[in-house]
């Protein structure tokens, strides 16, 4: 049900299985042609995280069980790299802005993958609050990631198959966005949002765009951080009793002013004036566009400036 529309129309959900199929099948076809294990890694992480999302859609998982299960999401990447060390599924050198010499962190990088996939997956899931926001966020945040892949390819650091793997991911997201944008004809559900988060995180890891990807999704990270630090525990949003935002009779939304309610990005955006769903969604996407611009600058500082010296 779409609670923010007049008459609260019924909207089909979850569209997650369509997103899972779109990304998984296209990446699998790419793997068949290229034999790149990095591409297979994206397909497997997407499938695993997506299946956990489908389970969450069917039977709501708890605030602790869900992230615990999502830890499994990153394991295919670690396993593929361990079984085929020459295949370069990912690069355990971390490239930081302004410095040409990377930091070699082979052990820490494994921990980073195991933690990063569930964190990014959950973070993207928490931004799925309004029509078109999660798909729009992923599409906008993918621009600096794609830009980084191209820059890395130019300086000879990129696996060309990782660059090729970027396009099926963006294509599937774009196709779903067409139906998810305001007013939504379908909702992605937890399975869709989690699949997009997992695929985005994996793309950043195999593409060596970790720092850039994190900066691009800062609004989603901040939303998750605000929520967790105000609730002070891992909890499923459906279990929250004090709502941060209420829907008015004209279907606009405004903050409830309840000090017990969790702090969210949406609450901060409607704290002083009621806004329509379309306006709030547009504000969140504007913020993502701004952080994506910062992420593009970071990519230039990492892959252009040090190599121009």
């Amino acid at each position: 049900m779409d609670y923010h529309k007049e008459g609260k129309p019924q909207i089909p959900r979850p569209g997650g299985p369509a997103i899972i199929a779109g990304i998984f099948v296209s990446e699998l076809i790419l793997f068949a042609f290229t034999g790149s294990l990095a591409v297979l890694g994206i397909a497997l992480v997407t499938l695993l995280s997506g299946v956990i999302g489908v389970v969450d859609d069917l039977k709501t998982l708890g605030g602790i069980v869900k992230p615990a299960l999502l830890v499994l999401g990153g394991l295919p990447l670690v396993a593929l790299q361990y079984l085929f060390p020459q295949s370069m599924v990912y690069d355990h050198h971390l490239y930081l802005p302004l410095f040409k010499t990377p930091t070699n962190i082979p052990i820490i990088y494994i921990l980073l993958i195991i933690v990063a996939i569930p964190v990014v997956t959950n973070t993207i899931n928490t931004i799925d609050v309004l029509n078109g926001v999660v798909t729009g966020t992923i599409l906008i945040a993918s621009i600096p990631v794609g830009f980084t892949l191209i820059l890395r390819y130019i300086v000879g650091k990129e696996n060309p198959y990782a660059l090729a793997a970027f396009f099926p991911f963006v294509g599937a997201t774009l196709a779903f966005y067409y139906f998810h944008k305001y007013p939504s004809k379908i909702f992605p559900g937890d399975s869709g949002a989690m699949t997009l988060g997992a695929a985005y995180g994996t793309m950043a890891i195999i593409g060596g765009a970790e720092v850039v990807a994190v900066i691009a999704i800062l609004p989603a990270i901040m939303n998750s951080f605000f929520f967790l630090s105000s609730v002070k525990r891992l909890v499923e949003h459906r279990q929250i009793k004090s709502q941060p935002v209420k829907v008015l009779d004209d279907n606009t939304m405004i903050a409830t002013g309840d000090p017990q309610a969790p702090v969210t990005l949406m609450r901060l955006l409607v704290g002083v004036r009621a806004k329509s769903e379309k306006e709030i969604g547009r504000d969140i996407l504007r913020l993502t566009a701004y952080t994506s611009l910062l992420a593009c600058l970071t990519a230039i500082l990492t892959w252009v400036i040090p190599y121009a010296k």
Binding site: P97, G257, P259, R273, L287, T291, L301
Partner: protein, 83 residues
């Protein structure tokens, strides 16, 4: 409208500050901490680890302070409006 602009503007300021702190932290780590060689022994590694950790904690502290400032301001505004 003015408050609405402030709300979006403050969020943009927080994102910019968080981004600048990441860049600043990278420069401090690579230009100041990594080349440190005071004791010419393993104590240097320990010192580098402690300084690196301190930097991460300081970054988190600043970030949380910015967040708290924004949330407090927002709650004050919400209370004023509901009254």
């Amino acid at each position: 409208m003015q408050n609405e602009r402030e709300s979006l503007g403050t969020l943009i300021a927080i994102f910019t500050a968080a981004w600048a702190l990441v860049l600043l932290g990278t420069v401090i780590i690579f230009e100041v901490i990594v080349p440190l060689n005071i004791f010419h022994s393993f104590l240097d590694s320990i010192l580098k680890g402690v300084l690196g950790l301190f930097l991460v904690v300081a970054w988190l502290f600043l970030f949380v302070e910015m967040r708290d400032h924004m949330v407090k301001t927002q709650l004050r505004l919400e209370k004023k409006i509901s009254n």
